[in-house]
């Protein structure tokens, strides 16, 4: 975040709703731009850096899911909060699969919206603040740059992490040596209400092991603590 005011892009073809959301966010002290369709949203997001996008799903031309997928495909990891009249569970899952961070069905309560926005921005600044002031995480010869999500494993091979992988790594790294529950990870990385299931975390851990463990079957960094969660070890003692 370069400026002091977080920048938020509101994308919704419902002009009245978008205008009222925009005015409320301005009143909360955010820097806000409102656009009415997916294509303008993409060009705006390519041109400027935003801290959060509030994205409608059903829109003329390019729908919200497609906008989010395109962004992620371009490695643009700006947080996305879907706002939509589609509220079924499968729509929520679809939103998360498209790379969304949170999902708020219409109609929603104003305070709920403001809380979610604040929570996503808090997670973003938690992440951007680095771990103990460090923007590069180092452990046992491996390293990951939090800003670019690019790192290398102990063998020197390049690893391009996704935003969520990097957030989970940072969450574990900060609490290295302690047991971190799956719920804690969900809370820190995704925020509330969103999680499809705690199994999601297990899948992410499998991916991190593949990236950084010489032998993913016998992890030395990402230990499973049965029934609880995970424990991260920065510098494992050499095993003979």
């Amino acid at each position: 975040m370069s400026t002091d005011k977080p920048r938020i892009l509101v994308v919704d073809d419902e002009e009245l709703l978008a205008a009222t959301i925009g005015e409320n966010l301005v009143a909360e002290g955010y820097d806000v731009l409102v656009v009415g369709d997916g294509t303008s949203a993409l060009s705006e997001l390519r041109a400027c850096e935003y801290d959060l996008v509030l994205l409608d799903v059903m829109m003329p031309g390019l729908d919200g899911y497609a906008v989010c997928e395109t962004l992620r495909g371009e490695r643009n990891e700006v947080p996305v909060l879907f706002l939509t009249a589609l509220g079924a569970l499968e729509d929520r899952v679809r939103g998360l699969e498209a790379g969304g961070d949170d999902y708020l069905p219409k109609p929603f309560a104003l305070k709920e919206l403001l809380l979610r926005v604040a929570a996503i921005l808090r997670r973003r600044s938690w992440y951007a603040g680095g771990a103990d002031g460090e923007l590069t995480l180092r452990f046992a010869g491996a390293e990951v740059d939090l800003a670019s999500y690019v790192g290398r494993d102990a063998g020197g091979a390049e690893q391009r992490l996704t935003h969520k992988e990097a957030m989970i790594l940072k969450c574990l790294w900060e609490r290295a040596g302690a047991v971190v529950s799956r719920e804690d990870i969900l809370e820190t990385v995704w925020g509330y209400e969103v999680y499809p299931s705690t199994r999601t975390i297990d899948n992410f851990i499998v991916r991190l092991r593949k990236r950084f463990e010489p032998d993913p079957e016998r992890p030395r960094h990402f230990h499973t603590v049965r029934g609880v969660g995970y424990r991260f070890t920065k510098e494992p003692e050499e095993t003979p």
Partner: protein, 365 residues
Amino acid sequence: MASGPTRAFQIAFLVLLVVCIAQVAWWILDEGAHSRDIRDRFASLYQADAAAGEALLASGVPAERVEELMPHLAADSERGALVRPEVLAELYEERNSRLNQYGWEGSFFLLVLLAGMGVILQALRQSTALMQRQQNFLASVSHELKSPLASLKLSAETLLLRKPDAEGTERLAGRMVRDADRLETLVSNLLEVTRLEEGDAAPRPHTQPLLPLVHAAVEQVRPNLEPGVELQLAVPDGLTVHADPEAFRSCVRNLLTNAGKSVAATPSSAGEVRLAVRAAEDAHRIELTVTDEGLGFERAEAARLFDKFYRPGDEMRRRTKGSGLGLYIAKSHAKSHGGSIEAFSDGPGRGAVFTLRWPSEDPRS
């Protein structure tokens, strides 16, 4: 409308039909093979008899006696005993007539069964299309209901939370009124469709001047048109229409609203909607046309536009707002008054013309 159980019944019946068809086909083949089998068995029995006849002849039994014992043989002391050719011919003939019978009867059964299958498949296809439209309807209605509702709720909450100054209050209240109008239109369309379908909306038409009806409809539509939509009227005085006033107004309203939405959804969000009325060539009708510079449509789509719940394109990326009910309502009203309605477009992006023909006087007089 095929509900779940009906559909399940149709599918079960279809499966039964397929099984029946397979059985009939198998029956034809099996009977064919069976009759051949019988023929061959008889033929070989006759041949065995012929051999026995030969043996009898050789042992000195007179030929006449052999023929008496086995009438299907022709016995002769010089040539021996042979199966009579006419007996063999009869055997073959009988088999062929059996085959014929199986062929004709079987094909008839097959034909009937296949026709039944066709009827059921057609019904299933129709009910699938309707289900698809209903799902679309559900998606679009929930979008159309929830969007203004979300906006209305948010504006009200903003009023409560922010306590804005007079100007801000007016702005928010204005938005709330527009959202409420949109909800009102949708709800009255839904109710109107329900009334039309339950048949308790039997029109009570009478002959009356056309101009005031058109003006009333225009005045109802005008406040809800997007700012870029320019409405032009060419309605001569002196024409009459034989109509239930609310039905006629609803028809005109829906045509105008549809044209307005179509124009608002173009990239420029601006354009003209022209309403013109003239006496039709058939002197007992008026012809009302609504011409717009909106999105237009493929020619093949023209008839489907009036289907209930029909909305062009993909629900997720819909350019126009609405529930897919307006044109259906307009067509229903026109039909119930002995009128007609049709749509024409030169293609996507080239606008559209909707033509409404309506009796100008009581057809019975």
